[in-house]
Symmetry: C2
């Protein structure tokens, strides 16, 4: 769902009409999984991808042809035949994908603003759509909102708690999807060696927060892709910052006492990944006998033989992705 | 040596005076290894890093103080003491790094142009410096050039063939380093899903070459970081292109017959990595009974649970780095 947040931002940045296309089901194998979506804005801008370039143009033609008559429709693409040059272009995907296209009404746009607020506060949202109708619902941990009188809430809750999402139920025409908050990377240390990591994490779909006590380092010219820059000493930043369970933190200030302060504090928080830059010996001294939690990674990064800040950035982001996916069973 | 190519480009883009600083030896553990280097240009521009921000400023002060008197000098930094706040800033690196700083003369700049030509033609160059003198030598597979009358060629050759490089010999004051050509990624397929991979590979230090038969896809606006865009059908591109042994290729045209043509051709070439996008079933059919070489990777990318083009890009670049490092024993 990497691009969903980009799409949401693009949808909400103006009042322009827009159509959201989402893969609701894949039979066989396809390049993108159910839940992948793409936004078509009125003036021609497109955000996201549904395939490797095979179906996007046709989806656009169809929604253009429907024009104002489009509310919610399902378009199947059969890419199984290797001889069919129209869709599969010999793509050999051997799969059928079902794409749902829906016009975003002004009302739903306002609801999407509430969705974004939820996500920004670190909460997941479950989206339910009744295809070929104008009914939809968003569920949060505090309740629900949307446009669906007499929604079958019990059935929905049962599906959410027992089945793997996203889930498309062909008998009821319901598509249920879980929208996770954008994963965050909190990067302690704004030294120039951390720039590639901040850039790569942002490019990969993380919301990057950089913090350092040195104003000369913690600048948007050095970290143009960071969503937030916090110039403060570790003690102060840690006492004020609110961590979320899906946060990843990388500690790389190159300052022994600061690293130690940060690590000790993070061990008391509920995060899913804590990485510490430095040699095994340095880490050993820094822990001074403390037993680290199992989500502590040091030396940081997958062991791929990375050298230099750019390659190390790849190894770290790869490790964070792997860790997220491993515990993202829910 | 990720940044060496960036530094070389920065050095040769004008005639501005410049000082090259290189770590020639590390005792204990440090953030960057021997061979890491940094370029200081006269007008203040700095390219590369020697540490996590600990020593760069001091190196700059020293070379500024020396001014025109600098030819070649060795500066040791002892970062072992956790109490010493001047260098280690409590960095706890527990290591000593020896930094060599040398003014690049006009003559050496011209020799560096020859070095760059060698690298561009896919050949490695070995650099030899006699520290605290003006002597240096570049060795290629065809001979050598530089400024070193009566250079001890036999000793150098023996070191190159038996020891792990980079190597610093304290008795002779020689530093020997191997400069590899920039690794290349040849990306078959210019679909929008390949953009994140091209960008990330370029950011990580690869020279990226993108090829596709569709002029609408193969554009520098889609692939701004590609060094080369080749718009041609696979057969034509393959018949004209010269592959190097350190090349990595990723095949992702989403077109079954084209992918098959490309894969079959690449199997006959000497590359170090061939990745193919697509499901195991599709790959099976595409190989049609052919046994792939052991440097063939499909499904492409490290198994980190990557989803979406951005995460897949991370998994692929991580896999290529790992493969390069594994066979880069020489």
């Amino acid at each position: 769902m990497g691009n969903f947040h980009t799409m949401l931002d693009a949808l909400l940045e103006d009042q322009e009409e827009a159509v959201l296309a989402t893969i609701v089901q894949v039979e066989g194998s396809a390049y993108r999984k159910a839940g992948a979506s793409m936004l078509f804005k009125k003036k021609g801008r497109r955000i996201g991808l549904l395939s490797g370039g095979c179906v996007e143009e046709d989806v656009f033609q169809r929604i253009s042809a429907l024009g104002d008559q489009l509310t919610s429709t399902l378009i199947p693409y059969d890419m199984r035949s290797e001889d069919d040059l129209s869709w599969g272009m010999g793509a050999g995907c051997n799969g059928i994908i079902h794409v749902h296209a829906e016009r975003i009404t002004q009302e739903k746009r306002r609801h999407y603003e509430k969705v974004r607020d939820c996500l920004h506060s670190g909460k997941a949202v479950t989206s339910v759509i009744k295809i070929e109708s104008s009914h939809y619902l968003f569920l949060t941990e505090n309740g629900h909102f949307g446009n669906w009188p007499d929604a079958p809430l019990q059935d929905i809750q049962r599906t959410v708690s027992t089945l793997h999402l996203p889930h498309f139920d062909q008998t009821t025409n319901m598509f249920i999807q879980r929208i996770e908050p954008k994963p965050r990377l909190i990067l302690f240390g704004a030294g120039p060696d951390n720039v590639p990591l901040a850039n790569l994490a942002a490019d990969t779909g993380f919301s990057v927060i950089v913090t350092d006590w040195r104003p000369a380092y913690c600048t948007s010219s050095l970290f143009p892709k960071a969503d937030q820059l916090i110039t403060a000493f570790p003690e102060q930043m840690l006492s004020e910052f609110q961590f979320f369970p899906h946060d990843a933190a990388v500690v790389a200030t190159h300052h022994y006492q600061h690293d130690q302060t940060i690590i000790n504090f993070l061990f008391s928080q509920n995060l899913h990944y804590i990485g510490l830059l430095g040699s095994a010996n340095r880490t050993k001294r820094l822990l001074s006998g403390k037993h680290p939690p199992s989500h502590f990674y040091s030396p940081v990064g997958l062991k791929i033989g990375a050298e230099g800040p750019e390659e190390i950035a790849v190894s770290v982001v790869a490790e964070i992705i792997q860790t997220r996916k491993r515990v993202a069973v829910v």
